[in-house]
């Protein structure tokens, strides 16, 4: 026991020592960067903007861990470049400044900038940059969507039970879906999208005698590749996606009414839980078209999604799993696939931007 305590204390000491060393190292690097900034600032104040730019260029890579200092260096460099009339480089460094600290604000009355050559170019370019960044939806986004779902029931069989019945026709009313979603740009404008949601949909099968309605709740999960397109001037970003989805049927409630007129049977409407008669794991293919628009750090999009179901909701045994439906209501399931057309509105927050420049590479 004593040896273990000694060992533990030794570990703690080592840990403290390493922490102190790394803190000391960091502090040393920060001091070095601060010194370089002061050197560059002195050169800038002395009017030697080229030397200032050269000094900053040599230290910038080493100072990236100190975001605040990096921003100060980039701002000074941009200002120097504006003074040298190197406007393209200035724009590039301004975008680099934005990507280093998305919340950085250049104020028109900044004393460092005020009255210096290139002041107007710098400030104008900064404002222009923010206009151009409206179509940059960032690298990592997360949010939620709300969808209006139009189920498109599709049947591959035409089973009917009672000889005098006409074939069943399928229809559906709109359902809804809400989901959390997350997108990660693998490369600029090509994102991986993951969604996890909750949906309520249904369909109806009816003929001259039967009205059968089934209400289904699902937990769908989807994976898609999303390609975004930048238009030249437009702040709107159209996109298309292609992916696959899976999901679980969480509940399945059916209501059936059979009306054969007054001269035959008198059946009460029946409500029945059909979850155990359903193929609970579902798979779909998914494709979509949409358009997005950024406001501040939020991205809003409107999207039309088509889901093609690969699995029927009915099991292989489904037609004959419910003998009450079969022998009383003369209803057996057909093999039903629930395709979907979805109108989706989503809101996402940009969690991170690409670190490399996209507007002025």
């Amino acid at each position: 026991m004593r040896r273990e305590l000694i060992g533990t204390k030794a570990n703690v000491r080592w840990h403290l020592l390493l922490t102190a060393l790394s803190a000391s190292s960091l502090s040393h690097a920060q001091q070095e960067c601060a010194q370089r900034y002061d050197d560059a600032k002195a050169l800038f104040d002395a009017g030697d903007r080229k030397a200032c730019i050269a000094t900053i260029t040599t230290v910038l890579a080493d100072c990236h861990k100190d975001r605040d200092l990096s921003c100060r260096l980039l701002f000074l460099k941009s200002l120097a470049e504006a003074g040298e009339d190197s406007l393209e480089r200035m724009r590039s460094d301004l975008e680099h400044l934005f990507r280093t600290d998305r919340h950085y604000v250049i104020k028109a009355y900044d004393p460092l900038m005020k009255g210096k050559p290139g002041e107007a170019d710098l400030y104008g370019a900064w404002e222009q940059l923010h206009g151009d960044l409206r179509k940059d939806l960032g690298q990592w986004r997360a949010g939620a969507h709300l969808s209006l779902v139009f189920p498109l029931p599709r049947s591959t069989t035409d089973r009917k039970v009672f000889e005098d019945d006409v074939p069943l026709e399928l229809a559906a009313k709109a359902g809804w879906e809400m989901a959390a979603e997350m997108e990660w740009d693998v490369v600029p404008n090509l994102a991986v999208r993951l969604t996890a949601g909750y949906a309520m949909i249904g369909y109806e099968a009816s003929n001259n005698a039967i009205t059968y309605k089934e209400a289904i709740t699902q937990a769908p999960f989807s994976f898609a590749m999303k390609k975004m397109f930048w238009l030249k001037r437009s702040p709107f970003v159209p996109f298309a996606s292609l992916g696959a989805a899976t999901g679980w049927i969480l509940s399945d409630q059916a209501d059936i009414v059979r009306d054969e007129g007054s001269d035959t049977r008198y059946l009460k409407a029946l409500s029945v839980d059909r979850l155990s008669e359903r193929r609970q794991r579902q798979y779909w293919g998914e494709g979509s078209l949409g358009v997005a628009r950024k406001t501040g750090s939020a991205v809003f999009s409107l999207e039309v999604v088509y889901n093609r179901s690969f699995t029927p909701i009915t099991t292989d045994d489904a037609p004959y799993t419910n003998t009450e439906l079969m022998s009383d209501f003369y209803y057996v399931d057909n093999e039903i696939f629930l395709d979907r057309l979805t109108i989706r509105v989503s809101a996402q927050y940009i969690l991170a931007y690409h670190s490399k420049n996209r507007i002025h590479p």
Partner: protein, 429 residues
């Protein structure tokens, strides 16, 4: 916002949903096809060319057969012969009451329709119609006068909605027609069972008749069919309600006469014995049905390779283990299935229950399938097909190695609605 936390939150959400309790799949009825029709049938036969012919009765009429409905092997309805279109004047005599009791496939889409006709007040004849699949006459009908006494009409006896007097026929191997008919006269205590042999046109045989008097009213006739033992032999099955026995006879036909080749009387004990199904396979005949004795209703089976008292009685088994103790269980049909005898059974809730097999409030019985050893009576397989829906199996067929069940459904509280069902079964066992 910590981006890792967002990712973890989404994964946890996904896992939570994925780990939801899975529902146990519902057991499916062992059915591969199910159809229903707005018909009430009482008898169904398989056709040699494939498919079936169903004898329909109207729920509110006398119980007489009104039509023959043809059905293909998939349960699609085909043509129908409306018996009301058959002529009621035969051989120059007008029959005020005609009812049909059997339809015999004759080949080439031709059929023999057997009926019984009354010339009021007291004439009674066997009527033989020859029609095609649409009910059109292909040859003139003919009649055989059976009784000049006042025939006792026995409509709607309590065990059967059909009249007690029936005529059944079979096509013999050489193309002759054999017909059995039963009747009784009001002035007599006994009854009669008569067998005809009608030679086909060009047959070297002559028309022959064999009449057997019965002691206590007419024997109830269940069927006549080729014996399988010999091309020109038939097996005749009947019961005596009073004596509570089943009679099985093998009849032979020579050029001029009809002879009893073998005969047996099955005396299994008190009760009304209803031998609904008889079929031969590999030299063995199985005969099954049900016993009705008060509320003690149970299926039975016997088998025999030759018809004699010892074998018919020795292989008799009352299937008391099918269904719950005290619950009536009926069986109206059976067929061979891989060496065993398959029977459809109707299992009813415990008594009280009417003895009538067409009890109008029959709404809650289970329809089941059993496989029975025809020799030992051992129940090899027992399965509920459709529970609690009042479905009555009337015909069970082995259609190319798969079982097909046709019956009538009484699954509704209101009386008077009887729908026919067709059901292909998954292979049992």
């Amino acid at each position: 916002m910590n981006m890792n936390k967002v990712g973890y939150a989404m994964w946890i959400g996904m896992l939570a949903v994925c780990s939801c309790k899975k529902e146990v799949p519902a057991p499916a009825a062992p059915v591969t096809s199910y159809r229903t029709y707005d018909m009430n049938i009482q008898r169904v036969q398989a056709l040699p060319q494939g498919g079936y012919v169903l004898q329909g009765i109207d729920a509110n009429a006398t119980g007489d057969f009104e039509y023959a409905q043809f059905m293909n092997p998939d349960g699609d309805l085909m043509q129908r012969i409306d018996y009301s279109t058959l002529p009621d004047t035969v051989d120059g005599n007008f029959y005020g009451v005609v009812y049909i009791t059997d339809l015999i496939p004759w080949g080439n889409d031709q059929y023999i329709v057997l009926g019984l006709g009354y010339i009021l007040p007291n004439g009674f004849s066997l009527l033989v119609y020859q029609v095609d699949g649409q009910g059109h006459q292909v040859a003139a009908p003919y009649a055989r006068f059976i009784s000049g006494n006042e025939v006792a009409l026995n409509p709607q006896v309590f065990l059967d909605p059909l009249r007690l007097e029936k005529a059944f026929g079979v096509k013999l191997a050489n193309g002759d027609l054999a017909v059995a008919v039963n009747w009784s006269n009001e002035s007599e205590s006994g009854g009669y069972l008569r067998v005809y042999r009608f030679p086909y046109p060009g047959s070297p045989n002559t028309e022959a008749v064999m009449t057997t008097p019965t002691t206590y009213g007419p024997d109830e006739l269940y069927g006549i069919q080729a014996s399988g033992a010999s091309d020109d032999h038939v097996v005749l099955v009947s019961t005596s309600l009073i004596e509570q026995r089943i009679r099985v006879k093998e009849l032979g036909f020579d050029a001029t006469s009809i002879n009893v080749v073998h005969s047996a009387v099955l005396s299994p004990g008190p009760g009304y014995w209803r031998p609904y199904a008889l079929s031969m396979s590999n030299g063995l005949a199985a005969l099954s049905g049900c016993k009705i004795a008060g509320d003690q209703i149970r299926p039975f089976i016997t088998s025999f390779s030759t018809i004699n008292d010892a074998e018919v009685n020795g292989n008799f088994h009352l299937l008391t283990s099918v269904g719950e103790i005290g619950s009536p269980t009926q069986s109206y049909c059976g067929t061979w299935w891989n060496g065993s005898w398959a029977m459809l059974v109707d299992l009813y809730p415990p008594p009280p229950l009417t003895q009538a097999p067409y009890f109008p409030n029959d709404t809650q019985s289970d329809l089941g399938l059993i496989l029975v050893s025809p020799t030992t009576g051992a129940v090899l397989f027992n399965q509920t097909l459709v529970p609690g829906q009042g479905m009555r199996g009337i015909g069970l067929f082995n259609d190319g190695g798969h079982l097909v069940c046709i019956g009538t459904q009484y699954g509704y509280e209101n009386v008077g609605v009887h729908h026919t069902f067709f059901m292909k079964l998954k292979d049992p066992g």
